[in-house]
Amino acid sequence: MSTRLAVDIGGTFTDVVLDVGGVLHTTKVLTTYDDPARGVMQGVAQVMDAAGVQPLEVRLMLHGTTLATNALIERRGAHTAFLTTSGHRDVLEMALENRFEQYDVNVRRPEPLVPRHLRIPIRERLAANGDVLVPLDESDVLEAARQLEAAQVESVAVGFLHAYADPVHEDRVAELLTARLPGVAVTTSSAVCPEVREYERFSTAVANAYVKPLMSRYLDSLQAQLTSIGMCAPILLMSSGGGLTTLEAAKAFPIRLVESGPAGGAQLAAAHARREAWDHVLSFDMGGTTAKICLIDHGMPQLSRSFEIDRVYRFKKGSGLPVRIPVVEMVEIGAGGGSLAQVDRLDRIAVGPESAGSEPGPACYGLGGERPAVTDADLLLGKLRAEVFAGGTMTLDAERAESAVRRAVAQPLGLSTDDAAWGVSETVDENMALAARAHASEWGRSLDNRTMIAFGGAAPLHAANLAGKLRMSRVVVPPHAGVGSAVGFLLAPISFEVVRSEHVDLRSLHDNDVAVLLEHMRREARAVVADAAGDAALVECVRAYMRYVGQGFEVAVDVPASGEGLAGALRDAFEAVYRKLYGQVIPGQPVEVLSWTLSLATAASTPAEAMSTPTGGGGEPGRTRIYDGRQRREAPVYQRALLVPGIRYSGPALVEEVQTTTVVPVGWEFHADLRGQLILEVHS
């Protein structure tokens, strides 16, 4: 059996999982910001020691990291310049010219990644159809190269108007710059994101340029350090789209690596969904600061092509820098165990997005936090036991939790401390339910009767209550939930997605033109995945982004298998999707395609049976008393590792494990299955 290594570098922890023929060895080490590879090597050494495995035995390394995201948020990326069409120097700064917070006259907008003096105009101009209106002035480019050299720029993005229609000018500039400035990274907008709408395309190109040198350096250093201990296995990188990509592709398009951790979590949930043949799943990942919710239908996470980084107003749509890349579509909410609670001016309990983080942490950590967090409320409600938190490595202080909740919530509202704590917990669950509903509605999906797959430290505490609000009757907590993202890397497919803006009115669509376009895209995708995929069969997925002529937003439509009469088949497919989203179609209105995507992927894996933790042994349960908004009830506390598979128990109950606790409310029952999953179901 093959030995594989998965490493997820997160904001606080680096998770390492070693898969030895299906048996998982896991560890968590602190992320080492100054040299992230050091933390990785430390964790790798730990799991290899524990498993008694030699570096040479590792056949493949899978890796995801938040380094690119953090560099963008903390503005620690490269000294970057932007060469753009003369007359349009300020596209990045003018952005959409709007305020995303209507009533805030002091609203701030995110700073562009490239300051104005490094945004250099170049004389050239294409028309919308790609015709050259003004030829490229190469002397402008050479002069710009001198400026960049003098300014000691490390990375350059090139973004010209309508370059999605023809990259000729951008490509020539890249050629000139590469010759003049060896060692300076060059990114063209037409390579990163060949799509119409200049602000979003330029923003993506600049973000890519901004993280490119840093990511290259890091990946080279990691590879060298692994080689130095004798590990020569190929490295594949987890992308935001949920697929694995090669080291070379990752260095060329590092922007595609943002949000790789959450994408891994979605793959974990998707893999469980496929194995159990659950057609409709909602994955729920809740940690210390945020919760992420993703819809997974027929074993595939929901995908999209837009994402925002560095939101100035946390979680507020439109307040960040847009990037157009393939992403696992998920909604992120400022709701975690550390989210702080208060009473607002309208006497309403408000929770998050402000978080106590890990320092000072919730009041009950006793590390100086004075304001109540969700974890404090959970403790007071009896959902956590003070003495056994984090496997007993840490004791929670219930008195501090109580005084924080009393001061900040109970007293201002005239509620009992129990009711106040319940209100905090209920409010955070409602916030997540609201976000989940809005997300499902945005994508025309129903939430009813989905299976929820919950992972991350805080998710199992809130999963069943959230599921009840969303009318879901089954919750599954997979094994190794605490390192779910890294486990997800082991299950992800190798894939690459190519996009093209190619505007076609269905009335004038020629089957052959589309076939030629798709063949070009197919070759480009195959070039990226071929090496890593080896002999594995590749699954192709082609989507058209379509709308009625005259509309401004496209919907993604799976392109039917080729054949005669593509136009008619596309219209039928479009109208089916449109009806599902908006209730009715518009008779007689012409339909157009704005862009096409093609992805090639190996089949994704399902978790092997043996990836599960062995269970059994029974044992005498402990006791707790859980408050449910009406009364406090006596409830047993079970140890997950000791549950006998197949034996069903009833809520209320707690199920404890080292990294989390699962709450089973009244009206639910639960059991461990033979694959180590903990399954909660509404009592029928």
């Binding site: 007359g87 349009h88 120097r89 300020d90 700064e93 003018m94 010219e97 709007n98 305020r99 209507q102 009533y103 805030d104 006259v105 002091n106 609203v107 701030r108 907008r109 300051p115 104005r116 003096h117 101009r125 028309a127 919308a128 209106l133 108007l161 309508h162 119409v196 709408r197 200049e198 001016r345 309208l346 006497d347 309990i349 509620l415 009711d419 209100g423 209920e426 409010t427 409602e430 916030n431 609201l434 509903r437 809005a438 509605s441 609000k469 505007h503 009625y548 002529v549 005259g550 509309q551 401004g552 937003f553 989203l581 908006y582 209730g583 009715q584 518009i586 209105q589 908004g629 009406r630």
Partner: protein, 530 residues
């Protein structure tokens, strides 16, 4: 609601209603045909109780519809009392004096029935690109020239679209596909809201929406009154002169803080114009109260309660309370200037919290030519804020976004040769005013095209505050040199290029006190000359 405490459950229900109207607005944006709705967000959406009181309104959208749509629903229920409606009925109007102030805005109202009883009403408004007449612009002398005007009537009867109405609409507008598609889109978003509301009853058995509504309205009103109570009592005045169409217009406001709330009285403002820039009262109320809400109670959601404490008055027959048959198509070019006037009063009530004057009215030229019409939006700079520079090229008070240059060039034969920050256009000050932009537009094949302009601040720039300088005035001219007017329709001759300079925002505070670091950064980036 069982034994769960209302102090916990009612706020949760309130949040659900706010989420439902946001969803309604999102559906409207995603299905709309008119560019200004789908790209720029010129729309609104809200839910009302059976008495017509607004319970929640989407924040997505534009302030011009704040409470003008709320008043419209009252007119709808007067014309068609709920007992006369059946499930599947949908009503519509675009009457400027019954809804949101010009014929382009269509308001659609949908009653929601549960077990045969009407439990709530959803309303939405969006800007339909063309309604016939002279086209979107400031040149008409009477509303009759401005296009099709529909009284309050059925769009759907018991689920069936009124084909007679649709035929009339199609026959009267230049772009029937867009108009029809947008009417469907308005109905669809109300439907989405209704479905989400009905699901709420399943989650909260025994839900009494009127009772929850009472709580929302009372809580919001109390919160507003508490904040108003902390303001000094008295009256303050501020006046501002704007370009108008053919002659400057004075806008005068007296803001009074009383026990019952805030009164804004525009007595003394100019008489109605002979051209299409007049403002019906509901739109005046919308922008005037928006300005108050930016400074006082900005965290209280919009509803019948929070809006009830602000009263707006303007003399009948003035440009701010224009009566039929005044022309009103470009009412935004005056209405969007009102927040600067109200903020000028508020600055005296609450010093150090209010921005300087800004470009304010959006610059949204309509370009027309052989077989094309596009209506891009180009903004000027906002006024410097109490603790920061004004925003460059940003819509305020309007909530719209701009549209992409590439998309505009894909949908027309025009080439936007230049669109970038207008250096040096922000008013100087301790905090600098936001910069406007320079836009140069030509015809790709050297053809003739026309431009309909509804611009202001060409003759009356945004004024600075507390020693800050004025923002640069706007300018409209041909590249060959000839100046054009700020308002009305004119021709760009073959081969020439239209040049727009949008206005800069006013500065705030003594320019001498601007930190050296900020000055250096202004010079390095070329935001200021030298």
């Amino acid at each position: 609601m069982g034994e769960i405490d209302r102090r916990i459950s009612y706020p949760l229900l309130w949040n659900r209603l706010l989420a439902i109207v946001e969803e309604q607005a999102q559906v409207l944006m995603r299905t709309a045909f008119s560019t200004v709705v789908r790209e720029a967000g010129d729309l609104s959406a809200g839910v009302f109780d059976t008495r017509g009181r607004m319970l929640a309104q989407a924040v997505t959208g534009t302030p011009g519809h704040v409470n003008s749509m709320a008043e419209a629903v009252v007119h709808f229920l007067d014309a068609y009392p709920l007992r006369t409606l059946v499930p599947g009925d949908v009503l519509v109007t675009n009457d400027p004096w019954l809804a949101t102030g010009h014929l382009n805005d269509f308001t659609v109202v949908t009653p929601v029935f549960r077990e045969g009883v009407c439990v709530a009403v959803f309303a939405s408004t969006s800007h339909i690109a063309d309604v016939g007449g002279r086209g979107f612009g400031a040149d008409a002398r009477e509303v009759y020239e401005e296009g099709l005007r529909l009284p309050i009537m059925h769009l759907f009867r018991a689920g069936e679209v009124d084909q007679t109405l649709m035929q009339i609409v199609r026959a009267n507008v230049r772009d029937p596909v867009t108009a029809e598609g947008d009417l469907y889109s308005l109905a669809a978003c109300n439907y989405a809201g209704a479905q989400a509301l009905l699901a709420l009853y399943d989650d909260f058995p025994g839900l009494d929406l009127d009772d929850v509504g009472g709580y929302i309205i009372d809580t919001s009103k109390d919160a507003m009154l508490a904040e108003i109570d902390s303001l000094p009592r008295g009256s303050w005045r501020y006046a501002m002169t704007i370009d108008g169409y053919d002659a400057p217009l004075a806008l005068c406001c007296r803001l009074s803080v009383t026990e019952a709330g805030i009164v804004l009285d525009f007595d003394g403002s100019a008489a109605a114009s002979a051209y299409g820039i007049n403002v019906p009262m509901a739109y005046t109320t919308a922008y005037a109260s928006f300005a108050v809400r930016c400074i006082v109670g900005s965290d209280v959601p919009n509803n019948a309660g929070s809006l009830s404490v602000i009263e707006v008055r303007a003399p009948q027959g003035s440009v701010l309370n224009a009566l039929p048959p005044c022309a009103v198509s470009a009412r935004h070019s005056v209405g969007q200037m009102l927040p600067d006037v109200v903020l000028g009063c508020l600055d005296q009530v609450l010093p150090d919290r209010v921005p300087a004057e800004g470009a304010s009215c959006i610059w949204n030229p309509v370009f027309l030519g052989d077989g094309f019409v596009i209506n891009p939006i180009y903004n000027g700079g906002t006024g410097a804020r109490a603790d920061s520079d004004g925003l460059n090229t940003t819509a305020f008070p309007s909530g719209v976004r701009t549209t992409s240059t590439e998309v505009n060039e894909l949908t027309s034969p025009l080439v936007i040769w230049r669109r970038e920050l207008r250096e040096g256009s922000g008013g100087e000050g301790r905090y600098r005013g936001g910069l406007g932009q320079v836009v140069e537009v030509g015809h790709r094949h050297g053809g003739v095209f026309e431009v309909s302009k509804m611009f202001d601040r060409v003759h009356h720039p945004a004024r600075g505050r507390q020693g800050g300088g004025d923002g640069a005035a706007g300018s409209v001219h041909l590249k060959s040199g000839q100046p054009l007017l700020g308002k009305g329709r004119e021709t760009v001759p073959a081969g020439d290029v239209l040049v727009l300079h949008t206005p800069g925002g006013g500065g705030l505070g003594d320019p001498e006190q601007r930190p050296a670091e900020a000055q250096a950064s202004d010079r390095l980036g070329g935001y200021t000359p030298g």
